[in-house]
C-alpha cells in the first residue's frame, strides 16, 4: 500500500486546494482548522460522531447486489452502496452531522449553508433542528423555483431559505452569498459547506466525514464477496460522495476509482458540468481546482439534468487524483442518466437520485465489456424522490 497523507498543512493537494479567500475570512478559517485538527484526533468526538451516525442517520448503510441490473448489463456484477437509505435520503447528512458537531464544540449557535438542489440545505436544516440551532440556507432564486418541495422541507425543519438574486442565481452564487454572510457574522456563525470544495480545511473535513462510506465498504465487501471490488464508481459534482467512497481506497491500488461527471447534452455542445473532463485549472470559491471557465477566466454556466451536479468547480482532491491518474473521470449525458434511472426503478425497485443515476449509467456501460466474475461497486448516493417533477416533465407529464 502506498502512503497518502494529503492535504499538506496548508490544505494543498499538489497544486490544488489551498486558502484563496479575502483576508477578512482568514481568521475564521484558522479558528476552524485549529478546532477541527484537534477534534478529528479526539476519541470522544469520534465516538460522538459515530453514535449519531448509527442512531440518527441509520448507518451502516447496506451493500446490495443489483442482480437484475447486472443481468441486463450482461457482464460484470453491479453492487450498490445504499446511501439512499440514510436519514434525509442521501450521503449529505454524513457531512452535515459532522460539521454540526464541530459547530457545537465551537459554541456556534447559528448555521448557514448553501444549496443547489436543496439536498444539502435539507441535511443542514435537519441537523440544525436536531441540535436546536438557527439555520439560514442560501439558494439561488432559479433553484428555489425548480426545487419548491425541498424549499418547503427546509422550512418545515425550521430553516429560513434566502433567495440569491446575483449572478446566474444558482448554486455557485448561493455559495458566494453564504461566504458573504459568514464574513459579516463570523463570530457566532458556522458555515456548513456541502461539498469537498471551498478553502482549507473544508475539502479535508467534508471528505473525512463522508469517508465513513468507504470505510464501511472496506469491511462490507470482503464480508459479502470475499474480496474488494474491481472498481468503485460515484457521481461527481463537487465530489463529496465520490471522495467519501474513494478516500479509504486510495492506497488500494488494485481497486479502480471512477468519477462520473454530468455530461449534460454532450461535451461537444458545451452544455454540461463535466469540470474534470473538459475544464481547466483556476481559482474559485477558496481553492485552486479544475473549473468551467472562458478564455478570460470568467466562470461559465453549467448544465445538467441533475441540479446536484450542476456546479462549475470540483473538489481539489479530485483534481489531484485526476492528474496523478489514481482516479479516472468520465462523463454521462442527461439522456444516459435518465435511462439508467428508469432501469433502476423497473429492475431493482429502487428510485435513485438523478445524480447517482449517472454513476449507474456508467457502471452499466463498463459492465458490458467485463466478465461476470468482475465486480463494480456504485455509490448510490441518494434517492430520487426529489427528482419526480424533473423526470415527469421529461416524460411530458406534470405532477
Amino acid at each position: 500500500m502506498q502512503m497518502y497523507d494529503l492535504p499538506d498543512s496548508k490544505g494543498h493537494f499538489g497544486p490544488y486546494g489551498g486558502v484563496f479567500v479575502a483576508e477578512t475570512l482568514i481568521h475564521a478559517l484558522d479558528e476552524l482548522r485549529t478546532q477541527y485538527e484537534s477534534l478529528r484526533n479526539d476519541p470522544a468526538f469520534v465516538a460522538e460522531f459515530e453514535h449519531e451516525l448509527k442512531h440518527y442517520v441509520g448507518r451502516p448503510s447496506p451493500v446490495y447486489h443489483a442482480k437484475r441490473l447486472s443481468q441486463k448489463a450482461g457482464g460484470a456484477q453491479i453492487w450498490l452502496k445504499r446511501e439512499d437509505l440514510n436519514h434525509t435520503g442521501a450521503h449529505k447528512i454524513n457531512n452535515t452531522m459532522g460539521q454540526a458537531l464541530v459547530a457545537r464544540h465551537m459554541g456556534k449557535k447559528r448555521i448557514i449553508a448553501e444549496t443547489g438542489a436543496g439536498q444539502h440545505g435539507v441535511a443542514s436544516a435537519t441537523v440544525a433542528a436536531r441540535f436546536g440551532m438557527e439555520c439560514v440556507v442560501y439558494m439561488g432564486s432559479e433553484d428555489i423555483h425548480r426545487q419548491a418541495q425541498n424549499v418547503y422541507r427546509m422550512k418545515l425543519l425550521g430553516a429560513s431559505v434566502v433567495p440569491v438574486e446575483s449572478g446566474s442565481r444558482t448554486l455557485k452564487d448561493a455559495l458566494n452569498e453564504a461566504m458573504r454572510d459568514w464574513v459579516t457574522n463570523v463570530e457566532g456563525t458556522f458555515y456548513i459547506i456541502g461539498t469537498v470544495a471551498g478553502p482549507h480545511p473544508y475539502p479535508m473535513m467534508v471528505r473525512d466525514f463522508n469517508s465513513v462510506v468507504g470505510r464501511e465498504l472496506l469491511t462490507q465487501m470482503p464480508d459479502v464477496l470475499g474480496r474488494q471490488p474491481d472498481a468503485i464508481l460515484a457521481c461527481v459534482g463537487g465530489g463529496s460522495n465520490a471522495m467519501g467512497a474513494f478516500y479509504p481506497y486510495i492506497p488500494h491500488a488494485d481497486v479502480r476509482l471512477i468519477g462520473v461527471e454530468a455530461g449534460g447534452l454532450g461535451l461537444a455542445t458545451g452544455k454540461h458540468a463535466a469540470t474534470l473532463c473538459a475544464g481547466t485549472p483556476g481559482v474559485l470559491h477558496g481553492n485552486r481546482t479544475y473549473l468551467m471557465q472562458d478564455a478570460n477566466g470568467q466562470i461559465i454556466e453549467t448544465h445538467s439534468i441533475s441540479a446536484g451536479l450542476d456546479y462549475p468547480g470540483v473538489g481539489p482532491e479530485h483534481a489531484w487524483l485526476k492528474d496523478t491518474g489514481r482516479a479516472e473521470y468520465v462523463s454521462v449525458t442527461d439522456d444516459e442518466a435518465l435511462e439508467a434511472f428508469h432501469m433502476m426503478c423497473r429492475l431493482e425497485g429502487i428510485i435513485p437520485a438523478l445524480e447517482s443515476s449517472h454513476a449507474v449509467a456508467h457502471a452499466m456501460k463498463m459492465a458490458r465489456d467485463m466478465s461476470s466474475d468482475k465486480v463494480l461497486l456504485v455509490n448510490l448516493s441518494g434517492r430520487g424522490d426529489k427528482d419526480m417533477a424533473t423526470v415527469a416533465e421529461r416524460s411530458g407529464l406534470s405532477l
Binding site: 479575502a22 455557485k172 452564487d173 461566504m179 458573504r180 481547466t280 481559482v283 478570460n296 477566466g297 470568467q298
Partner: protein
C-alpha cells in the same frame, strides 16, 4: 522609487492624505472607462483602484457585484482593463493605477503574461482579493521584478503574525478593511480604526489606506485624520449606477471633489 511611493512622499511633504477611489472598469461601458479615470484625477484622486470584473466577486456587496455584472455584460476582460490603463497613460504619466480584482482572470492569463502586460500598460500595483499572503508569493515575485507593487488587505481579525506575513510581501501601501463584512456593507467604526492603525503601523512600514464603509466627506475626513489614505468604492459605484450617461462624469466629479475638500479642510 515606484509611482505609488513617490505619490505618498509628495503628499506627506504637503501634509495631505491620499484619496483613492475605486471604480469597476467597464461600468457603465468600456468607452467611459478612461474618461472616468481622468475625471477622478481632476477631482482630486491621488491613486486609482481599477476593478477588474469577475463573475463571482465573493468579497463584494451587492453594489460592486452589480457593477461587475454590468461590466461583464459589456464583455470587459482583464486584457481590456490593461488596454484602458495603456490609454490612460497617454495623457497621465503621474497618477498610480492599482488593479483590484480576483485571482481567476490572472490565473487564466498566466502570471508571466499578466505581469508583462501590466508592466507594459503602466500598472503600478495589483491587489488580488483572494490571494492572501500565503498564496500570493509566486505572483508577487513576478510583479516585484517588474517594479509593480503588491497591495494586501488587513482586517480587524488579522493577528500580529499575519501583519508580519503581509509586511514581508507588501509594497506601495497596505489596505485596512475597516469592517467585518463585504464592500459597501455598513458604516465604519471610527474608534476601532483609530485603535488599529497604530498597531499596524508598528509592524508594517508602509502607508496605510482605509476602506470599506466610507460614504461621505465627513467620514473620509475623520479617517484621513488617523490613516494615510482613504479608499472609497461602493459610494462611487452607486453614483455610476444611478447617473444618467450624460451626467455621469459631472456627478462623479462633484462627489469626489466634495470628499477631497472635506479631507483637505
Amino acid at each position: 522609487m515606484s509611482r505609488i511611493s513617490a505619490t505618498f512622499e509628495k503628499l506627506q511633504a504637503a501634509g495631505r492624505k491620499a484619496l483613492i477611489p475605486f471604480v469597476t472598469a467597464g461600468d457603465p461601458d468600456n468607452a467611459s472607462a478612461v474618461p472616468i479615470m481622468h475625471t477622478l484625477v481632476a477631482a482630486g484622486a491621488n491613486i486609482i483602484e481599477l476593478g477588474v470584473p469577475f463573475s463571482d466577486p465573493m468579497a463584494d456587496g451587492p453594489t460592486i457585484q452589480r457593477s461587475s455584472e454590468r461590466a461583464l455584460k459589456n464583455g470587459t476582460s482583464l486584457r481590456d482593463v490593461l488596454g484602458f490603463v495603456t490609454e490612460f497613460r497617454t495623457r497621465d504619466s503621474e497618477t498610480p493605477v492599482v488593479l483590484m480584482g480576483y485571482a481567476n482572470p490572472i490565473e487564466a492569463m498566466g502570471y508571466d503574461a499578466f505581469a508583462d502586460a501590466a508592466a507594459a500598460a503602466g500598472v503600478d500595483g495589483v491587489l488580488v482579493v483572494d490571494y492572501p499572503p500565503e498564496e500570493s508569493e509566486p505572483l508577487t515575485m513576478k510583479l516585484r521584478h517588474r517594479g509593480i507593487d503588491s497591495i494586501f488587505l488587513l482586517s480587524p481579525t488579522s493577528m500580529e503574525a499575519r501583519m508580519d506575513g503581509a509586511a514581508r510581501l507588501a509594497s506601495g501601501y497596505v489596505y485596512y478593511v475597516s469592517l467585518k463584512g463585504v464592500t459597501g456593507a455598513a458604516n465604519i467604526d471610527l474608534t476601532e480604526v483609530a485603535e488599529r492603525i497604530p498597531q499596524i503601523r508598528s509592524r508594517v512600514n508602509l502607508p496605510i489606506g482605509v476602506g470599506f464603509g466610507i460614504r461621505d466627506g465627513a467620514t473620509a475626513r475623520a479617517i484621513a485624520g488617523v490613516s494615510d489614505a482613504v479608499v472609497i468604492g461602493s459610494r462611487l459605484v452607486q453614483e455610476i449606477e444611478s447617473s444618467p450617461p450624460e451626467a455621469l462624469l459631472e456627478n462623479l466629479h462633484r462627489l469626489v471633489s466634495e470628499i477631497r475638500q472635506a479631507m483637505d479642510a
